[in-house]
């Protein structure tokens, strides 16, 4: 009954709803990957699954006051031309954490590579089985053991 307590929602869901939504998206994707019968649908599920993880990582990097992790012109000018110390000019809480962004660039690339390869393989499967439904493919394979 803990879930119904009023304090639970304010403490655990409201400040962290991004994390909750990422879990929901991930569960949707995972469910599709496991249960969908059509190979393309499985791949759409896979892509949703991967973007959910990327959402999680990007959410780590956000700060309440933050903007984009690129120095503005004035700050750039102050540091490079006027020679002021960067730690004075740059306020950390004004910049989003750049590390998760970098990691997720890589993860997006990995995601599209996997998707492309999987699509190529599903085209080959379609070429030799003439269907993309998993159960129909397994039916075709059943009578003959090896080929």
């Amino acid at each position: 009954m803990e879930f119904l307590a009023a304090g639970f929602i304010e403490e655990n869901i409201v400040p962290k709803f991004n994390y909750w939504v990422y879990v929901i998206l991930m569960m949707i994707g995972l469910f599709a990957m496991i249960t969908k019968n059509n190979l393309i649908k499985k791949l759409i599920g896979m892509a949703i699954f991967q973007t959910a993880i990327i959402l999680f990582y990007v959410s780590i990097g956000v700060k309440a006051e933050s903007g984009i992790p690129i120095l503005g012109h004035e700050q750039h000018h102050e540091i490079v031309e006027e020679g002021r110390a960067s730690s004075e000019v740059i306020k950390k809480e004004k910049f989003a954490n750049p590390l998760p962004h970098v990691l997720m660039l890589t993860a997006i690339v990995v995601g599209v590579s996997t998707l492309g390869l999987a699509l190529a393989i599903s085209q080959r499967i379609y070429g030799s089985f003439n269907t993309l439904e998993e159960d129909e493919i397994l039916d075709q394979l059943r009578p003959g053991g090896h080929d």
Binding site: N12, P15, K16, F17, N18, Y19, W20, V23, I24, M26, M27, L30, F31, I34, T35, S59, I60, G61, V62, K63, A64, E65, S66, I68, P69, I70, L71, Q75, H76, I79, V80, S86, S87, I90, K92, E93, F95, N97, P98, L99, P100, H101, V102, L105, T106, V109, V110, V112, S113, T114, G116, L117, L119, A120, I121, Q123, R124, G127
Partner: protein, 251 residues
């Protein structure tokens, strides 16, 4: 299967949600990940160490350049993997239509004309994105995808054979490999000049400016390498997937 999948998903979801209670609140600037030494170093010292205002580019191409090299390798693997899996090499497949007028063999006149006008603009913007990645969002990867997309657009509007004459399969593979050779070769150059692999400061003697500028210039070089690979592979992926590996006529 449905029930099993449902149970598995619920277990995983419960596991993940159980941990969210333990996380710092979303957007908390004092969370370990945001407050930590590594993140502070990237935010505060990037400009001093590399003279690049875009922290993401600097971390991507320099601090974690080793990761990015493998990211490029991943793209390369996807490209040659798709060719290896799907491509059917045959005599009839390699026969290209001849004559320059084959450009106009397909598609609507308006579409073709618009495409001929838009593609140079896209490519110009893509080059800008690659070159300006130090100061604004973008970089080799994004620019490369856009360059590749311009070829895809061309193939959609004017037919794959016309696009293939501009970016044939062999040429695409060579460009893709050349991109990684630029990247990794730049790292090896650092190694030959006495630094560690990808230690751009050791290139200071042969590049203009001081050590920090050497880093900045080197980042541009590796971004160009990334752009080469991504451009070629994106087009190769599209051309193979849209023709089931026969590379005849596109969509």
């Amino acid at each position: 299967m449905k029930l099993f999948g449902f149970i598995a998903v619920i277990i995983v979801g419960a596991l993940l949600l159980a941990a969210t209670g333990d996380f710092p609140a979303w957007g908390d600037a004092g969370s370990p990940a945001s407050q930590g030494q590594v993140s502070s170093f990237y935010i505060e010292q990037t400009i001093n160490e590399t003279k690049v205002p875009n922290m993401v580019t600097a971390v991507l191409a320099d601090f974690r350049g080793y990761d990015t090299m493998f990211e490029t390798v991943v793209i390369f693997i996807a490209g040659i993997g798709i060719i290896a899996v799907l491509r059917t090499f045959g005599d009839q497949a390699s026969k290209a239509p001849d004559g320059p007028e084959a450009d106009n063999d397909s598609g609507d006149l308006i579409v073709r004309t618009t495409c001929h006008m838009v593609v140079p603009l896209i490519q110009l913007f893509a080059l800008y994105v690659i070159a300006h990645g130090h100061h604004s969002p973008g970089g080799g990867f994004q620019g490369g995808v856009m360059l590749g997309a311009s070829y895809i657009l061309f193939a959609l509007a004017c037919g794959l054979p016309a696009a293939k004459r501009r970016m044939g399969e062999r040429r695409a593979i060579i460009i893709a490999a050349a991109g990684i050779i630029i990247y990794a070769g730049w790292g090896v150059a650092c190694l030959l000049l006495g630094g560690n692999f990808l230690d751009y400061t050791s290139l200071d003697p042969i590049l203009p400016g001081d050590e920090q500028m050497a880093r900045s210039h080197s980042m541009l070089v590796v971004e160009i390498g990334v752009a080469f690979t991504v451009t070629a592979i994106m087009f190769a992926i599209y051309s193979n997937l849209s023709t089931r590996g026969r590379l005849e006529k596109g969509l």
